[in-house]
Symmetry: C2
Subunit: 434 residues, 2 copies
């Protein structure tokens, strides 16, 4: 066996020069991973979230925050949904935001005539193409769908307004039907076609195949809308960009029908890993937490404990072996840098899984002086108490200070509590039951 | 243009016979989507969650609940982490559960000697292979790693105990290094090799390529461990199974280091769509909510509002167009059947996005009698009030009843409040701020 060991190469030197090994796949010449756009739909899809009721003032506040964050488009509820929906749409169009304003309507002239009068920059039309929706929703066949689409598209274009045509429930629609209608609407000049996983059934490789095929049929941009019922929305969005899609629909915290769609924050986590320069230059990532808090408060939900980036423990390291390496170099156990988002890293050392490297770091912070063997000894004391009950920082500090007093003469320097990169609030978040 | 319309085929008749179009890809002859196993790590990875402190009693309660749910393996914290960790491991081994019990140790004889004495069915060994971990964690080269691995594996096998060898941070490790060491350990007879996305950086197509390549190098089973920092853990797990992996590590609610790993419930949502018979026959899905509540309470977190399956709104339909179709056939807007999980569907009709089909359904539930035109009229009244403020069911019922009293003589039949498939509690979940 010992000869086999020699065959194990040590690659540190010969490693190929690839700046970002978890970035875009170089084989994807169609990839838009480094050139994507965001259509935020918090004020349309998000209004379909069970708890959502946005007043005019709240809609305007959210629209301004989204614009400030840097989303490319803001999509609003159809002006025919209700009288207030219409006047709110008009009010937001008058704000003069940098983001383009869209509204989302059924593929019907009655809706289109109202939409083009609101002042929007673009209209998103949608119609169900799966056999389920054709049978149980609008009851129309593909010929009827194509005729309506052409009529609506030509009307909206005649008003000088951007137009997107999307199927609904695309992944349960017949592929030939889909390609036929997308080819038709592309030829008459839509700005974008949309693929929608309306029920949240799609998986990444299926998404990649459909987008790549569609990309060979149309010349316009491709927009994608992914629901999250089976937990794949972010991954599907990323894979769609790899296949050549250009625009992704998001909502703040992913709110929408049922358990929602691609969350803006989660997608930022995914994209910053693949295209750090593009993402950091285009979006104000340090505003993410405020934006999420604004929407969470408006719809009366808590930020999920495990939310990407802003969840209370997203940058908390606990096991001793993790803490040791994080203290030496954060990249060992972090693919995201908390500082990119205005967040902080936290080393959780007050527990039975702690290790002596984490405790050594704490001893240093307390400005105490212990040899490594002594630190290992006090770490064992801490782990013993951690076996009996949950610990907090004060428990650990007491044990360390008592131990220090036993083994040495206290130094004369004032004890300075340096909480660099530590935040006690993060350790004991207030938790109440939903 | 009108000739083009004729070319749009109507596919309802000619559709190919594919029972489950969003199921496994028939081209994946290596796929284990219909033949996967679960290693639940709530009592190992989950113990590394910031808030986790499990007493012996709580560990036993969770282990029994996981076993009852049907997971194949239960992974426990290393017996060398602390004295109590060791005695808890021994206690759980003595429970006589159907699930096999594993413990998770560093690739070191000191740990292995303790592990094999605990009574576990298997030992999971792990060592960092990325240049980050080799430099900042253990500081060893690949030859040292291979030697330690062989020593530990042969020792554990000599005791008649299952053994898994996993790299750590596999997606930032050199491919040749990885394949070399996996080939070595496969040849000496490990039961499984493990791939770990320790920092949560992997994306689905990258996962598929690595697993498919590894599958051609080893003959043993492949286990995968995906962190969720960039929101792709569930999708990566699914894609790994497509590529030939067999076992997925999960935690209840996904709890673990940072924002955790593949959540058990979310993976069930993904897998039931792809392999419904396998999943429903193997796992007690109706116990999922109790299992999640048990763990959520133990670690003092709320179930996220948007949790797959058990989030309060996972089966809530709101927009009028959705409600209409759901009432005709739930499959139009649902890929998951709530009844498979002991959950209920809810049509949210008390809001300004409501439609007359949803209101008609409510009128029927109230055992009132209105013509379609009358229902459209009362729907407009409801939407008007919904523009002014958030509505609840009582608001809507009052409007309907007042309207009904105006337009007709009340029927003599007793008004029966039939809440079939509706649950008022779901409408107004108690929400408090975290």
């Amino acid at each position: 066996m010992s000869e086999d060991f020699q065959k194990v190469t040590e690659s540190a030197v010969t490693e190929p020069q690839q700046a970002n090994p978890y970035g875009p796949n170089p084989a994807d010449y169609l990839s838009n991973v480094k050139n994507f756009q965001l259509i935020d739909s918090t004020l349309r899809e998000g209004e379909q979230f069970a708890n959502a009721f946005f007043s005019t003032e709240k809609k305007i506040e959210i629209a301004k925050a989204l614009d400030d964050f840097g989303v490319d488009y803001i999509e609003l509820t159809s002006p025919v949904a209700s009288e207030q929906s219409r006047s709110d749409c008009e009010a937001i169009c008058k704000l003069g935001l940098k983001a383009k304003i869209l509204t989302h309507i059924r593929c019907h002239m009655d809706d289109a005539r109202v939409a083009v009068e609101t002042g929007v920059d673009g209209v998103d039309v949608v119609i169900g193409t799966s056999k389920f929706l054709r049978q149980y929703s609008h009851g129309k066949d593909m010929n009827y769908i194509a005729k309506s689409a052409v009529e609506v598209i030509e009307f909206v274009k005649s008003k000088g307004i951007e137009i997107r045509f999307s199927s609904e429930d695309s992944f349960r629609s017949d592929l030939v039907d889909l390609l036929n209608i997308y080819k038709t609407v592309d030829q008459i000049g839509v700005n974008r076609v949309g693929i929608a996983d309306t029920v949240g059934c799609a998986n990444p490789r299926q998404v990649y195949e459909l987008i790549r095929t569609l990309k060979s049929v149309v010349s316009c941009d491709i927009e994608c809308h992914f629901h999250n019922d089976t937990g794949c929305a972010i991954a599907n969005a990323y894979t769609a960009l790899e296949g050549g899609a250009r625009l992704i629909d998001t909502c703040v915290l992913g709110i929408g029908e049922r358990n929602g769609i691609v969350p803006l924050g989660g997608l930022m986590a995914r994209m910053i890993v693949a295209a750090p320069e593009y993402v950091k230059s285009k979006y104000k990532l340090h505003k993410l937490r405020d934006l999420e808090n604004l929407v969470a408060e408006a719809v009366e939900v808590n930020i999920p404990f495990n939310n990407p980036i802003t969840g209370f423990c997203a940058f908390t390291h606990k096991a001793g072996i993790h803490a040791k390496a994080i203290l030496a170099n954060p990249s060992t156990y972090e693919i995201l840098d908390p500082h990119d988002f205005g967040m902080k890293r936290y080393i959780h050392f007050a527990n039975r899984l702690t290790g002596w490297n984490a405790i050594k770091s704490r001893v240093d912070q307390l400005n105490l002086n212990l040899a490594d063997d002594q630190i290992k000894e006090v770490t064992n004391k801490i782990k013993k108490l951690g076996d009996v009950r949950p610990l907090n920082i004060d428990d650990v500090d007491s044990i360390i200070k008592d131990f220090h007093a036993e083994v040495s003469t206290p130094r004369l320097a004032a004890i300075k509590r340096d909480h660099a990169d530590l935040d006690n609030d993060d350790l004991n978040p207030k938790k109440t039951k939903q």
